[in-house]
């Protein structure tokens, strides 16, 4: 639908503005500073770098969520064809291209956590009968380690991770390559349909594959920290959690980029409002899954399941759990109810920051109580501060990589049927 001379036109230069380089430098500086603090804390804590490693796992899981959650949202956008996602396509692509760094972040988890058994008790006590005899593990843990040995072993851990990363990397390569090729293909008859079919076919199977493989990975990386624990909705919760953390980051990126061209001309209130509504949907979906799982397990009150929640509620953890609900749901829910808020950049930005923080907070609540010294025993120590320093460093480095990738390509995809509408004046479809 052309609307005559009211439509805006795209600026000639579609690359991200130069100030993104400043962000990257700042992120790098922050990363180094956090890392220095983390190392100092590692020496001071005297816990043999245990908390450093746990904090590393936390940071890795968060950065994994940003990178591959970006891939998930990108594929979802191709499938739904929604206008809301067109404008964030390129930022999402930039997130996905950080995967090599995320893989590097995984290596300490694999080497120290699994191969050396510093994080996973199934790796540390693969000889479960001796460990049981020496009272190093409980009967339940021994049974779980024995039963799941086929899956929970170091070799399988590495193979699963490497296979999954390889598949995801292939997907990321295709999504990014085709995106540029599509732009170059503009003008050819039938190209719009051709590319849409191609992206839909790739993404349809991609979302399916990713959903399954993510479940496998989170079982290895997070759920198996407590080998006795299981929950069928766990993978789905991570899937939604990734979208929960990626969408606010994409919105924040657009807001920051909208201070200059080309995003200044293309980021309209309509799309901002729509993305705010989508955030609201993720807030609700996230809490829906979390509360559903809690209600089922709490009412069941079975000895196999309930300790997982008790470990995360008692001994001071109730404060963390309560704040988790407040940050994760109560605050964003109440704020995003307002239609005006979603249309005012500065206020929506606050909600986006809250959502990202809530996700980081939630990952902390998921990880730390798995360890014997921390279950039902939240204690302030030098070591616990690693959960700020190490993830802080990893996230800052990841952000630096993200900003670097953002600068490498045009931030607007030019050969997309939504572009014409995005360039229209807002009132036309308001």
């Amino acid at each position: 639908m052309a609307h005559g001379n009211n439509a805006k036109s795209l600026p000639a230069d579609l690359s991200a503005p130069a100030f993104v380089d400043i962000w990257r430098t700042r992120a790098l500086i922050a990363g180094v500073a956090f890392l220095v603090v983390a190392v100092i804390l590692g020496f001071l804590s005297g816990d043999h770098w245990n908390h450093f490693l746990r904090g590393w796992l936390h940071g890795f899981v968060t950065c994994f969520g940003f990178c591959f959650g970006g891939m998930l949202l990108l594929m979802t956008q191709y499938l739904s064809g929604g206008k809301w996602g067109y404008i964030i396509q390129r930022p999402l692509e930039a997130m996905t291209r950080t995967w090599p760094l995320v893989f590097l972040m995984f290596l300490p988890v694999g080497i120290f956590g699994a191969s050396m058994g510093r994080l996973y008790i199934w790796a540390k006590y693969a000889d479960w009968s001796t460990a049981l005899k020496n009272h190093l593990i409980t009967n339940e843990q021994a049974h779980a380690i024995r039963w799941k040995a086929l899956m929970l072993n170091t070799k399988a851990f590495w193979i699963a991770t490497i296979v999954c990363f390889t598949i995801f990397a292939l997907y990321i390569h295709l999504l990014n390559k085709w995106s540029l090729q599509r732009d170059a293909d503009a003008g050819r008859e039938g190209n719009v349909t051709y590319w849409r079919v191609k992206f839909e076919n790739l993404s349809g199977f991609g979302v399916l594959l990713y959903s399954g493989l993510l479940f496998l990975l989170v079982i290895y990386w997070v759920m198996s920290l407590d080998p006795t624990w299981y929950s069928t909705v766990y993978g789905f919760q991570f899937l939604v959690g990734q979208a929960y953390q990626v969408l606010p980051l994409a919105i924040l990126t657009l807001m920051a980029l909208s201070k200059a061209e080309p995003i200044k001309s293309t980021f309209r209130l309509i799309e901002q409002h729509d993305m705010g509504k989508l955030c609201f949907a993720f807030v609700m979906l996230n809490m829906y899954l979390a509360f559903g799982a809690f209600l089922i397990i709490w009412s069941g009150n079975s000895p196999e399941e309930i300790p997982w929640y008790l470990d995360r509620i008692r001994g001071g953890w109730g404060v963390v759990a309560t704040l988790d609900v407040i940050f994760h749901w109560l605050l964003p829910f109440t704020l995003l109810l307002s239609s005006d808020l979603k249309r005012i950049q500065s206020r929506l930005a606050v909600v986006c920051y809250i959502m990202i923080f809530a996700r980081i907070w939630d990952v902390f609540w998921l990880i730390e109580p798995n360890f014997r010294d921390a279950a039902r025993n939240l204690h302030l120590s030098v070591g616990i501060l690693e959960y700020i320093a190490v993830p802080g460093a990893l996230i800052a480095f990841w952000m630096a990589a993200y900003f670097a990738e953002l600068r490498k390509r045009p931030v607007i995809a030019t050969n997309d049927p939504h572009l014409a509408e995005i360039l229209e004046q807002e009132y036309v479809h308001a």
């Binding site: 609307h3 009211n6 829906y288 009412s299």
Partner: protein, 473 residues
């Protein structure tokens, strides 16, 4: 999905996007109104309608017989026993409630997502929701054995100090389903009002003018009316959206909060909701395809609708498949012998065949919908919708029967074989549903004319001043 194999000059295709049009070409405000309203206002009822209505009435009569006999003899005429104390009643209840979900999703969530293609199908999908809830609501009521005491389910100040058990999800069902039914009826009726106004204005008979006039609540189509109508629609959509999730979630709690292998699992809430939408969309297709053929509505319910609904079915079917896979995997990963036995029994036990029926119907065959040509074939999609709904019924059968017949204690194991009264009651509700639907398509506009008119190119807001279309165009 795009249509790269379709002829480029096909008038049913949008030349800009290559997708099928939501409304066929050449339609005007007048033609849409005439096409839809004529179905209701005509004095000539098609013979086919009478034929279908007669069959549906026959099945409804069978339901009346079955329920009457039930009231006379008690629930002993059904196969329910210990340990399968719920049997067909809960299976049918969950199945019917699930079917209703598509109507709410189409009318509320797709409205909020600005999915214009929903406009042609939302009216009869909403009607389908109401009729499905009627069929569903009947089962718990007759299952209690003394339906005249059904009001005990509600917390009321009883002199006998009866008070519902608020910790029971069965009570949550009462509130969830009654809220759902209320909102669905209100939403459906509000959506009907502009069209009822049109019907009142077009009706030739005094009776028609009076009836539609009463139902239209004084609708005049003024700007003020439209503003209030739009506000009410959005508010109701906002209220109905959480209901799409909450109703089947609460129903999933009926099972999930119980400590029974195969029931007590955290994936149940989202997996039940996805399953509900899956079966609901299947039923919308089951209804839409014959209707568009019989009433020649192919240019209002186009292949775009069939295609999109096929995609929704495929997506929700895959979520359901994800749920099944997770259940199987976690049965092993739980390291619980009981969970593992439950899954083995579900697959290879005495009624293991029913598990493979559901896998075939819900997972294996629907993968054909990945193929675009399949999704664009109305006949095949009709067949697929029937297959999916068969599979979804078996899903509930498997959940209820296999888990209850083989719980923790072998001493309490049992068998279940439905009686003729079980089958008659279920088939009877299919008849009642169809009976009500036949009445709906004959006496009310099944496609929202007012919303379809807004989708025509003439209704688009223009940035440049253009001459107004002539009256009647």
């Amino acid at each position: 999905m795009a249509t790269k194999d379709a002829p480029v000059n096909d008038p049913m295709l949008d030349p800009r996007t290559g997708e099928f049009l939501v409304i066929g070409p050449g339609h005007t405000f007048k033609s849409v109104t005439e096409k839809v309203s004529r179905i209701v206002l005509t004095s000539h009822t098609p013979l086919g309608w009478f034929f279908g209505f007669l069959i549906a009435s026959g099945f409804t009569g069978m339901l009346l017989v079955a329920v009457t006999w039930l009231f006379l003899k008690g629930v002993g005429i059904w196969a329910i026993t210990i340990p399968v104390a719920w049997g067909f009643a809960i299976i049918n209840f969950v199945w019917w409630i699930g079917i209703g979900h598509a109507g709410t999703l189409i009318s509320a969530i797709l409205l909020l997502f600005k999915q214009g293609w929903r406009n042609s199908i939302n009216r009869f999908a909403e009607a389908m929701t109401i009729f499905a809830v009627i069929c569903a609501g009947m089962f718990p009521l007759i299952h209690v054995g003394r339906p005249w005491l059904g009001y005990w389910l509600f917390p009321y100040p009883s002199t006998m100090n009866y008070w519902p058990q608020f910790r029971s999800p069965l009570l949550w069902d009462v509130f969830a389903v009654s809220t759902y039914a209320t909102i669905s009826v209100v939403f459906w009726y509000i959506g009907l009002i502009p069209d009822l106004g049109t019907m009142r204005d077009r009706a030739q008979s005094k009776f028609g003018q009076f009836t539609f006039g009463m139902l239209a609540l004084g609708w005049r189509g003024s700007v003020r009316h439209w503003v209030r109508y739009e506000t009410a629609s959005i508010l109701l959509a906002g209220l109905a959206t959480p209901l799409v999730l909450s109703v089947h979630t609460v129903i999933s709690f009926d099972f999930a909060v119980a400590l029974l292998p195969g029931w007590h699992t955290t994936i149940f809430p989202p997996y039940f909701v996805a399953g509900a939408i899956y079966s609901g969309f299947a039923m919308v297709i089951t209804l839409a395809i014959p209707i568009r053929k019989f009433y020649h509505l192919e240019d209002l319910i186009t292949l775009r609708h069939i295609d999109n609904m096929g995609k929704v079915m495929l997506t929700t079917g895959l979520i359901v498949a994800y749920g099944y896979s997770t259940e199987v995997f976690m049965a092993w990963y739980s390291a619980s012998r009981w969970e593992w036995f439950m899954m083995w029994n579900r697959m290879f036990g005495a009624i293991g065949w029913s598990y493979w029926v559901l896998i075939t119907c819900n997972i294996a065959l629907p993968q054909l919908m990945w193929i675009r040509k399949f999704r664009l074939h109305a006949g095949l999609m009709f067949l697929m919708s029937l297959i999916v709904n068969t599979g979804m019924w078996f899903e509930r059968f498997v959940i209820v029967v296999t888990s209850l017949t083989r719980d923790y204690l072998p001493s309490s194991w049992g068998t279940y074989r439905a009686t003729r009264w079980d089958y008659m009651t279920f088939a009877g509700t299919l008849g009642l549903f169809t009976f009500l639907f036949f009445l709906f398509v004959r006496f009310l506009p099944m496609i929202p004319m007012s919303e379809l008119r807004l989708m025509l190119p003439q209704a688009k807001v223009r940035a440049e001043a253009e001459p107004l279309p002539e009256a009647g165009d």
